[in-house]
């Protein structure tokens, strides 16, 4: 097998993939994201140490997104005997390598494969959490979480509420799932169902944008919040996003947005992978429209979300755009836009714009036309500023 795979590997590393959309030679906006230079990532350990959310004087290591998840899981498993890790194919390291070597280190009682049943995985995790464990369950792709929807919506989310005075809850529960488009995932390897979960009080919905965020938010989800968490990992970042990540235990608070880049003329709100495109679009606009500055906010937690940070920003800038990958209809953008309309009405100088996936499915050949890209975000900024 090895000789056959070698050329495959080289092929995988060439930027041009014939099965998915490639940039036109003339493109100025819709260029591949350059993860090596994007300001979203901490390319040097020095940029980390300036951030109050990270431990001071931490030793760091350059990790990609799946390695950061792996590091968080390893930290969690060694921090508490209550932490369990299971799902389909997690034992050998997981199909995205997030659980690499963890079964060897922590044993097959705590890191194990389950039968192929999403409703079973979710139900099993809820039961374990109800007896005081901290199960971290993996759904192999967010596209396959729907068989577990009943367990998440009717059971996990309502557990504490219906138990009431017994005090029993499933706060130790975290359900991880890779989400989002990868260029060729078509209908069932591309979805981001965050808004479906955000409609359900009782669960927290988190989507980190980068390796260092992923580790801090995952550890917070496991240890610092006693509520069930839907933890969504944009799988396109697993290998692409590389940055310095502190080696030790640290957490990033849930339900707290982060202003990634301050600005005064427009607020851009997003989460997950589209933040990288927002950043590119902002650089482009700030070059073509000198003097203009755009504030970029990462929601990080989609529900319950940090409404005050967003409102504060929009009250300052007077303009807002929400960007996300999943469909526009009843998406996160609808909630954010209407909250802005209610909370900053008198300060708004333009309609709140939503740049999101079109209201269709992610047909294999059409992905690049369906999902938001830099050109669409750039155009939205321009239209909103010129309104």
């Amino acid at each position: 097998m090895a000789p056959l795979r070698a050329p495959l590997r080289c092929f995988a590393q060439t930027p041009r993939r014939f099965y998915s959309g490639a940039p036109t030679p003339s493109a100025k906006l819709n260029l591949p994201i350059d993860y090596k230079s994007t300001p979203i990532l901490h390319h040097a350990s020095s940029s980390l140490s300036n951030m109050p959310e990270f431990p001071a004087a931490a030793t760091t290591k350059r990790l990609n997104y799946f390695q950061a998840i792996n590091s968080a899981l390893r930290t969690a498993l060694s921090t508490s005997e209550k932490v369990l890790l299971f799902g389909e194919d997690v034992a050998f390291g997981g199909v995205f390598r997030c659980s690499m070597d963890l079964q060897t280190e922590f044993g097959s009682d705590r890191v194990f494969n389950t039968p192929l049943t999403e409703q079973g995985i979710a139900g099993f995790a809820i039961g374990a959490a109800a007896e005081g464990m901290k199960p971290v369950a993996e759904i192999q792709f967010a596209d396959y979480v729907f068989p577990a929807f009943d367990q998440i919506v009717n059971e996990a989310a309502k557990f504490r509420y219906r138990e009431g005075g017994t005090g029993i809850n499933v706060g130790g529960l975290v359900i991880r799932m890779p989400c989002g488009a990868v260029g060729h995932g078509a209908l069932y390897h591309s979805q981001s169902p965050e808004s479906l979960f955000a409609h359900v009080p009782g669960v927290r919905v988190v989507m980190p944008r980068s390796p260092s965020q992923a580790k801090g938010l995952l550890l917070a989800s496991i240890f610092e919040h006693n509520d069930p968490v839907i933890f969504m990992e944009p799988k396109i970042l697993y290998r692409a996003a590389v940055e310095h990540v502190p080696n030790e235990y640290y957490t990033i608070p849930l339900s707290k947005a982060e202003v990634i880049k301050p600005g005064k003329d427009l607020t851009m709100i997003s989460y997950g992978q589209p933040l990288y495109m927002c950043s590119s679009a902002i650089s482009a606009i700030e070059k073509t429209m000198p003097g203009v500055s755009v504030e970029l906010i990462d929601l990080r937690t989609i529900y319950p979300w940090d409404r005050q940070t967003v409102l504060e920003s929009v009250r300052k800038t007077g303009r807002a755009i929400v960007v996300h990958e999943s469909m526009i209809n009843y998406g996160v953008g609808a909630e954010v836009a209407s909250t802005i309309q209610e909370g900053a009405f008198l300060r708004l100088e333009a309609p709140v714009k939503r740049v999101a996936g079109w209201s269709t499915h992610t047909g294999l050949s059409y992905e690049q036309f369906i999902l938001p890209d830099v050109a669409r975000i750039y155009d939205a900024i321009k239209q909103t500023l010129e309104y």
Partner: protein, 449 residues
Amino acid sequence: MSMKLLARRGLVRSQIAATTYGSPARRWSSSISQRPGSDSVRFPGAVNSRFTTDMTFLKASDLPAIPTYRVLDSDGELVDKTRPAPDVTDEEVLTWYKNMLSVSVMDVVMFEAQRQGRLSFYMVSAGEEGITVGSAAALTPDDVVFAQYREAGVFQQRGFTLKNFMSQLFANCNDTGRGRNMPVHYGQNYPRMHTISSPLATQIPQAAGAAYALKLQDMQNPTKDPRIVACYFGEGAASEGDFHAALNIAATRSCPVVFLCRNNGYAISTPTLEQYRGDGIASRGVGYGIDTIRVDGNDVFAVHEAMKEARRLALSDGGRPVLIEAMSYRVSHHSTSDDSFAYRARVEVEDWKRRDNPIIRLRKWLENQGLWNEDMEKETRDEMRKAVLKEFGEAEREKKPPLREAFRDVYEEITEEQREQMSELKRILETYPDEYDLRPYQDGAKGLE
């Protein structure tokens, strides 16, 4: 499912090729090659299967039905006179009897109360008191229970008081559910019986996960006695996907859990012939590699003995699941929202009531033993009825919990968004005081603070 698998693997392979490349060649236990001339299969999916040249389909209808274990006959006598008497003290068995009776007395009163509109909803467990009390009596207080909704006897046997029942039914301020759940959705922290939720079968995989948690905790702290989970559901719920998921995952993860199916012949209006075509629920257990027994659910001794042995089995060999199918007949309507004579003959129900019933069967046993008589029966029933009516009256008069309980416990802490909505609700209540009756609620509009 196979399409999904293919799709997943297809994508996955292209993504992980880079890392698997270069790892040393490993030989896995499941890929041992076939010995030449072997008469049995070494396929990884079925390792002990013999080859055959006889093409025979296994016919479910040719297999004998799984037998039903019983100790007492319907006259309250030992079926097998050569076996020793059931291993319970007179006091214990009298407690069981009274617990069964108490649930049955409460059922009659509360069913009527619902009919009078004093209660929003009720479900009786007539005909299934033997299953619930007999099985619960075999558990220790540290064991954990997940139930469906027709298990009042389990709650009764494990210390739930009349006051607890009534507080929950009236959703008043003493209800552990804080007035949030429909009636009969009971719950208790210790002995732990998880608060019942309406979605059917969801508790079954949860029971498997809970059992796995108990197993690990008992391994990590071996000074305490090991615990099991007991999980109850009806034969209708066993058609849900969660049943399949649960039994399979419990078997593969060796979870110390006893699944107890109450097969009472009906799921609302649907008779078992429209629920399944196999030999009940028990026949499925063996398919999952689970030790299984079918018992006579009208025989409290049979149920108790089966549960006691199931508990022992569940804790053996590092833990494993066990399935008990307890046969009975749902004598009552499904719930107060159901008139079962719309789909079954009154005469069938009357026949069952007359022919066999767990309470009457145990009463006959007790009378045969000289432990019970007509006077005791009458006196006990009168006392129980009075006690139920007293708690009923008190529970009905209690205030409902304060309005803030509508928002609390969604998350561990009330969110900023909820706080805003609570103030908005308070403003509405104060602006339109004639539109809302806050008298039943503790602290009125102030209950939102």
